[in-house]
Amino acid sequence: MTEVAITGVGMHPFGRFEGVSTTDMGVAAVRAALREAGIGKDGFQAAFCGTAYGGVATGHKVLSRLGMTGMPIVDVEAGCASGGAALMLAAAAIRAGQYDTALVFGTEKMPKGIIRSSFFEPWQEEAGLAATPAFFGLRAQRLCLTSGVTKDHLARVVVKNRRHGVANPDAMYQKETTVDEVLGSRVVCEPLHLFMLCSPNEGAAALVLRRSDLAVPATSSAPSSPVTLAAAVLRSHIPGPVLSESTPLAGLASDAVPAPTTLAATAAYEEAGLGPSDLDVVECQDTDAARELLSCEELGLCEPGGSAALLDSGATHLGGRLPVNPSGGLLSKGEPLGASALGQVVELVRQLRGECGPRQVEGARTALSHTVGRGANAGAVILTR
């Protein structure tokens, strides 16, 4: 089968940027990725743009500004997994022989505060049931009841990721925090305090995908041995779990139905021909502190119920056996929906190239990224080098 390489990556930092438009950020990220890949206007045959709040023709506006149109440009919305969905489509098209090279990017400017999502019906808003942090809180409570997770564990996830984020110039928060500070921030929805929730924000990320056999361009600043995209999978949910990201009004009184994250990860491991024990570094969805721990369980990084012990072991810290969110995660970077999944992949490409300086995972060769959000949509991406 045709293999897919990532020959260029670019980012616009995640944060709040007054006066900078969704298009401006996309332009910056796309320019950087194309420069790394050593290609220009005619260097790619299709573009896929992840965005949830960007509006009509977000991708077209970015590429119009760069004078690069004519090829198919497809905007992709899949909630928090929008970028992962765009990546899956691009990779599949290259594997199928449709294109040699494709551009994948995501760009987003999120409203401030609790995200107002068109996912909810008006009556759900009126009844107070469009309270996204409450669903995170309920899920966190269930994790505490079933996995021995405590508020102290939740705070320590934040402390870990914020410590990682100090060394990431693309992160919104580049300042450490403490358990006391996290637990001293106001309660949003028990057991979650304000510092345990990521901030919706702004940013962009871009990648150039290319058939592996064509992946060494004549003129390029990118390393000569590109990163291979070993799997890019998107899955939706199977109904049943009442606190799934599908956000139903009811579910089954059963815990046997696999989560969308598990469906995506299982398919990604199979596609890449490896398993969780082969991973060197992971970027996972940490919309809230409990979500990171649950993600570790659903991705098979530990046994079900084992996420507290995994955190306690130090394995998921930089320098540990399997660092999780060395970029600082969404808890440090914030979450611009259309860009967040690709931001993870950009981080992992740089990790596999050994470009991450103080936050480098030494000798990283195999990496997994994961996003999950409303829909439900779950994305899992595996990179190797």
């Binding site: 609790i114 995200i115 107002r116 999502s117 909810f120 019906e121 008006p122 009556w123 808003e125 009126e126 009844a127 107070g128 049931l129 469009a130 309270a131 996204t132 942090p133 409450a134 809180g137 309920l138 409570q141 269930r142 009841l145 106001r186 309660v187 949003v188 929805c189 028990e190 057991p191 109904p239 049943g240 009442v242 606190l243 139903p248 009004l249 009811a250 579910g251 089954l252 009184a253 059963s254």
Partner: protein, 135 residues
Amino acid sequence: MRVMVRDGLFADADPPALLGSRCGACGSVHFPRADACTYCAAEDPTPIDLSPHGTLWAWTAVTAPPPGYEGEVPFGIGVVELPEGVRVITRLTESDPASLREGQPMELCVVALHRNDDGNDVVTYAFAPAGTASA
């Protein structure tokens, strides 16, 4: 006058009831009432009223008004497990998480959300700790 936040979700009666359905093919129970079984896709599930009694499975409180909400905060929100084998997302009448416990008996009630522009009280379903719902 009082109006339901959405018709077809619950019966505003004494006692009230959540309006669900049961799949004739796989037996799964749905809330709200479904056009097709959300689990097996079989058409035309049978309408049923769900039990007004259940047990508390998860709970928290909302401390800041979520988008589009005009009622008071804090308010409770949680998951109640019903004997039909379903877990239902619901408002709770109790907004102090510390006063609730897992497995606690709960009962269905109808609560006011806010007064709308027409001067009507908008009501929705909620669960209360058993024995407190008539308040």
